[in-house]
Symmetry: C2
């Protein structure tokens, strides 16, 4: 999916919502465990219940990988189902990144084998760990900028001699590696006071914003400070949506929660 298609999708559906598929077999409704593939069964029902009211899905790769081959098969089925039955943007939340020839292999895995639109990438190893992903047409890198977790304070705010914090250096430098049509940044909702500043540093890039809800981020401030003329936001919600109920009505409740989030976001989309 390209930049204009994504911007249009947001305008048409009047939402920035990205549904996180961190599917944890210890948290999904018990009745699903009798299925041959409970993870895919759960995802399928969540997707069916939300695909017309969100613009993106973000499977968290760790949750699949932890189940071994079976987990990877569930992921394979999930991305196939997403590509075949929805118009949504897809994010492999994998936080990969390595030297050039290795990043190339990761790009092959997520863009060719699994056919995701985008993959999250960690910036520590610099340019050659990122650029191999950018050589794939209409595919995206979503680079960690300012993350939503407590550990973001350990290194991301380190200020260098020129006064710039590490996450600002990352956001500044990465824009020399790729255009806003292929590069997004992860900016956690738990740092609303910084979102406006980051928007100035990267006016045209999309931000993937995790951390609304369970992690404490405030949705209204994120929308207000983060949006740009083309939308510019993918706001992720996982637990609030997919674990809204632990019962057989989990998909109905997931939809209700997604609609509630959309009620807030709609006001910020023309």
């Amino acid at each position: 999916m390209n930049y204009n298609q994504l911007a249009n999708l947001i305008k048409e559906k009047k939402t920035f919502l990205c549904v996180g598929l961190d599917t944890d077999t210890s948290l999904i409704p018990k009745h699903l465990l009798k299925y041959e593939d409970p993870i895919f069964e759960f995802n399928k029902l969540v997707i069916d219940a939300t695909k017309d009211i969100c613009v993106a899905y973000k499977p968290n790769i760790a949750f699949y990988e932890s189940h071994g081959i079976q987990g990877w098969q569930a992921l394979e089925k999930t991305i196939k189902y997403l590509n075949e039955t929805t118009d949504c943007f897809t994010i492999a939340d994998a936080k990969r990144g390595d030297i050039g020839n290795t990043s190339n292999m990761y790009a092959k895995a997520f863009f060719e084998w699994l056919n995701f639109d985008s993959v999250t990438v960690a910036p520590y190893m610099g340019k050659d760990s990122v650029t191999p992903f950018l050589e794939h047409k209409d595919k995206w890198v979503i680079l960690l900028g300012l993350t939503s977790n407590a550990g973001s304070a350990d290194f991301q705010f380190l200020q260098s001699k020129d006064g710039k914090k590490l996450y600002e250096q990352v956001i500044g430098k990465a824009q020399q590696w790729g255009t806003h049509e292929q590069l997004m940044f992860v900016i956690g909702a738990t740092h609303p006071e910084y979102i406006a500043e980051v928007r100035k540093l990267a006016p045209d890039n999309f931000f993937l914003v995790p951390g609304v809800g369970a992690q404490g981020g405030d949705l209204e401030s994120v929308c207000r400070e983060g949006k740009n003329a083309n939308g510019g936001l993918l706001i992720n919600s996982t637990r609030q949506v997919i674990y809204a109920s632990k019962d057989t009505d989990f998909d109905v409740k997931a939809r209700e929660q997604a609609l509630e989030l959309n009620d807030v976001m709609r006001k910020f989309i023309d």
Copy 2:
């Protein structure tokens, strides 16, 4: 494997050698492609030819992941074979790292499903992205410190107001999260001038050193500057060893190359 076992292995075998298993089907001898699982077949022969003259193996996960389910099955067979037929330390070169609940899932994948001794982790997301891996007994985190690639210059050398470079901050802070019996650092051989300095910052930790050979690092300087009283080094060689020949004698040639490397390293091990 614990710290003493690893230190003893190095003393007994008189080598720091770690063989990288970045098994690329476009580079392995052509006659292997007729096998049902060429990647595992190649790995098996490399392992058989080198297991008595190295102390560690490091499969690079991207090279397996890029082949989809089949690639993961080849990795599964490879780590099983390593655990069953060798006494070597095993490294999942995966460069994972995410918020706590997600790092937990990655730890489950690499320490429980695959039963590796260690996994490489990227530090950008800070403490809670690292500590879940440290809760597994006799398992190790190998944290990126100063990497061997060109992109290491982009952020790792950024100097903060207190004069410390980012990689120094990482090495300093991470030692508060785990002991030298569960935490190693990646220090690239392409920065030999820094290895002695890093050794002062982390006197007891093991360093995993990639970048000798193909990437230009000098083996003698790495040994001289990097070793400590317990060995303290795992020096990785991939291309020089596993791609020493593209013919049917590739395993014999791999052994020859490993022995040449050992001739240099032996001098630095008492």
